[in-house]
C-alpha cells in the first residue's frame, strides 16, 4: 500500500517534470446539446479538414470522451497547438423515454441512457486533466442552470482558465447578453458553430486562453 502511494507520487512528479512544453489539453465542456462537438468539428474542419465526431439533435450523442491530437491553429502569423478533448454533456438527470421521442425503441433508449450516465461520470473525471476549458452553452437556453455553475466552480477550484461560448447565435431566441450577465467574471463569445458566424472573434479569444494555460 505504502509502496503504491510512493510509486504514484513519483510518477506524478516525474511526468510533470518531463511534460512536453506546449502540450495543452483543451477541453470542451457544457450541458448536452449545446454544440460542443459541432464547435470541435468546426475547428477541426477549419484547420485539419476533417470532423472529430458525429452530431445529432438527440441529446447525449457524444457518450465518450473523444480527442484530436496536435490541433495546430495558425492565424495572422500566430500559432497554437493543443490536444482537443470533446466531452459528453453533463446533466443531473437522464430519462430513457426522452430518447424514445426521437423514434428509438425502448431497449436501445435504455442502452443509450446507460451509456450517457457513464459519459457524464467520465467527463467529470477528466476535469483534473485539463489545462484550459471552453464551456459551450446554448445561447437560446437559460444560462443559470446549476450544471453550468457547477462546471465553472470546479474549474475555478482547479485554477483552470475558462472561456465561455454562447453557441447558436444564428437562432432568433439566442440571447448572449443573458450569458454575459450570468457570468460577469468571464470572457463570453457568441458564435454559431453551424454557420461559422463569430468564429474569428472566437479564435482570437482561443489564442489568449491557450496562452493563459501555458
Amino acid at each position: 500500500m505504502v509502496m503504491k502511494i510512493i510509486t504514484n507520487f513519483a510518477r506524478r512528479i516525474f511526468s510533470g517534470m518531463f511534460k512536453k512544453k506546449g502540450e495543452v489539453k483543451l477541453g470542451f465542456y457544457g450541458p448536452p446539446n449545446a454544440g460542443k462537438t459541432s464547435l470541435a468539428n468546426r475547428i477541426c474542419q477549419d484547420f485539419l479538414g476533417e470532423d472529430l465526431g458525429e452530431v445529432s439533435k438527440m441529446p447525449h450523442e457524444t457518450r465518450h470522451v473523444q480527442f484530436k491530437e496536435k490541433v495546430l491553429i495558425e492565424k495572422d502569423g500566430k500559432k497554437i497547438e493543443f490536444k482537443l478533448i470533446d466531452t459528453p454533456g453533463i446533466a443531473t438527470k437522464i430519462d430513457f423515454e426522452d430518447f424514445m421521442k426521437f423514434g428509438m425503441n425502448r431497449k436501445k433508449a435504455q442502452e443509450r441512457a446507460k451509456e450517457a450516465t457513464h459519459g457524464i461520470i467520465e467527463s467529470i473525471k477528466w476535469l483534473d486533466d485539463m489545462n484550459a476549458v471552453i464551456i459551450v452553452l446554448d445561447a437560446t437556453a437559460n444560462p443559470y442552470s446549476q450544471v453550468n455553475i457547477t462546471i465553472i466552480g470546479n474549474l475555478v477550484a482547479r485554477k483552470i482558465p475558462v472561456l465561455i461560448v454562447g453557441n447558436k447565435i444564428d437562432l432568433r431566441k439566442a440571447d448572449i447578453k443573458k450569458i454575459e450577465t450570468a457570468f460577469p467574471d468571464y470572457d463570453v463569445i457568441g458564435l454559431s458553430a453551424r454557420t461559422g458566424k463569430g468564429m474569428d472573434e472566437f479564435y482570437e479569444s482561443l489564442f489568449k486562453l491557450v496562452k493563459r494555460a501555458k
Binding site: I90, A91, T92, K93, I94, D95, A113, K114, T117, H118, I120, I121, I124, K125, L127, N142, Y144, S145, Q146, V147, I149, T150, G153, N154, V156, A157, T181, A182
Partner: protein, 137 residues
Amino acid sequence: MVKKKGVEERKYRGELMIHFMPYSEIARDDALTRIKKIMGLVLQNKIIILQGRLKSEEEARLIEHTMTLVGNLPGFQGVEIAVLSGETERSMFENVRRNIAKILIGEQDAVTIIGPASVVKEMKRNPKKIELLLKRR
C-alpha cells in the same frame, strides 16, 4: 421502530414531502457522508431545501453519484438541483469577511434545492428566484 417508520412512509406515499435540512445537519460531515445523506432523502422522493450550499467539488461528486444510481437503480431518473446564493455587490472588506466565514463555517447564506427528477419536472432559476415545476401525479 423500523416497522413504525415503514408504516409512516406508506401512509404518506404519493404525497409531496419537503425536507428542510439546516446546515448544522451536514456541517461536520465529509463530502461522501453529505452526499449519502442527501441522496438517501432524494431516494425517498423528498424535495430537500438545504440551508447553505455544497462546495463545487461536492456538487460534481453528487452528479457522479446520481449518474451511478441512474445506471443501476431502475426507475431512478436523477435529480434536479438549483442554488440561490446571496451573492450581491459587496465592499472589499465585506468580501474578505465573507470569505473567512466561508472557510470557517461553510457557505450558509445560500439555499440549495434538490429534488428527484421523477417528482420535479424542472427548476427554473434566475438570479433572484427559483421556480419549481412539479410533475402531475
